[in-house]
């Protein structure tokens, strides 16, 4: 791979890791949803970096099409997750998932 493509591919993996850590480690629902989004962005970034073939050549259009599909599906999943989180908080007043909380 080209140096800049490698750079963005590794950055994608790092973003995936950041998002994964936030998704598991933080109890607040909104943080978890943001973490999920950043995980997705990391996957997209690795995809687009692999599709990159230098400034002279046209990049691979197949991963690009998949990523565009992915971005729109991701926003749908986010909307659904946020609707669920809002329902949870309006019905119970809980905004965080703390495992040791006894009700």
């Amino acid at each position: 791979m080209l140096p800049s493509a490698t750079l963005y591919a590794i950055a994608g993996v790092a973003l995936f890791g950041l998002g994964f850590y936030a998704l598991v480690a933080y109890p607040h629902l909104l943080r978890k949803i943001m973490g999920m989004n950043i995980m997705g962005t990391g996957v997209f970034m690795s995809f687009v970096a692999i599709a990159y073939r230098g400034p002279e050549q046209t990049a691979d259009p197949v991963p690009h099409a998949l990523v565009i599909t992915g971005i729109v599906v991701a926003v749908c999943a986010t909307g659904l997750a946020l609707a669920l989180a809002t329902q949870i908080s309006t019905r119970t007043g809980i905004t965080q998932l703390t495992p040791d909380e006894e009700k």
Binding site: T6, S46, T69, G79, A83
Partner: protein
């Protein structure tokens, strides 16, 4: 309770050392996999780029999205509809379109920007055949228009407009399915557009999809079945 969210929600769950270790292992493994990726493997790129002219569009991404991988996009449009059905089946009626006090700056801004956004969305759709753009980008602009309309609440939509919401939500999937099935009848396969009709069919599907995508994104923002706040 002026600051319900501050402070207490940055506390981490127990076992964060384990999570950190897992994350480091994950990142390390994935990086190693990426770095050892074999170079110069045969790709779909050459096939996709060389056969783009068969779609009668110049933008290879549009050719892949709407023609070569049309199946993915068809299912994606279905996912958009499913998301709205899922939200509507659980959320109570969302009261939107409450008439706000008519501030001249907001009203003028929205009046100027909304028609412009319709033009930009349509232009992106038309442009998508040959240059970067397309149904998703155009639909995203229309979705932004919808969000701005709902959030600014400068005008209330008339009753006939609200009756059009549900048809507009499904028109993208319906048109896509109809085209996908219709091309089977001259003896073709599902979604296999005849090359001489490809561009017209792509534009037909995209024009229907752009409406559905815009409406879907707006309804995601509303987060429930929209009802008039003043009713």
């Amino acid at each position: 309770m002026a600051k319900p969210d501050r402070g207490d929600d940055v506390t981490l769950n127990r076992g964060r050392g384990l999570v950190l270790g897992l994350t480091v292992a994950l990142v390390g493994g994935l990086s190693a996999a990426l770095l050892t990726l074999p170079a110069n493997t045969p790709r779909l790129a050459e096939t996709a780029l060389s056969r783009t002219p068969e779609s009668e569009v110049l933008n290879p991404v549009t050719a892949v999205l709407l023609n070569f991988r049309g199946y993915d996009t068809l299912l994606e449009v279905a996912v958009l509809l499913l998301a709205i059905i899922a939200i509507w089946s659980m959320a109570r009626q969302a009261r939107v379109w409450i008439k706000l006090p008519d501030t001249p700056v907001l009203a003028t801004f929205v009046r100027l920007v909304l028609p412009l956004m319709v033009i930009v969305g349509g232009y992106l759709l038309w442009l998508g055949a040959d240059l970067p753009g397309g149904a998703f980008q155009g639909g995203a602009v229309l979705g932004g228009l919808g969000v701005l309309w709902v959030a600014a609440a400068v005008w209330l939509p008339p009753a006939w407009f609200r009756r059009l919401l549900r048809p507009a939500l499904v028109i993208g999937l319906l048109a896509f399915l109809l085209v996908a099935v219709a091309v089977m009848f001259p003896g073709g396969l599902l979604l296999a557009y005849p090359p001489e009709q490809a561009k017209n069919l792509i534009l037909l599907v995209e024009s229907a999809a752009v409406i559905s995508i815009g409406v879907t994104l707006t309804l995601l923002f509303i987060g429930g079945i929209p009802t008039r706040g003043d009713a």
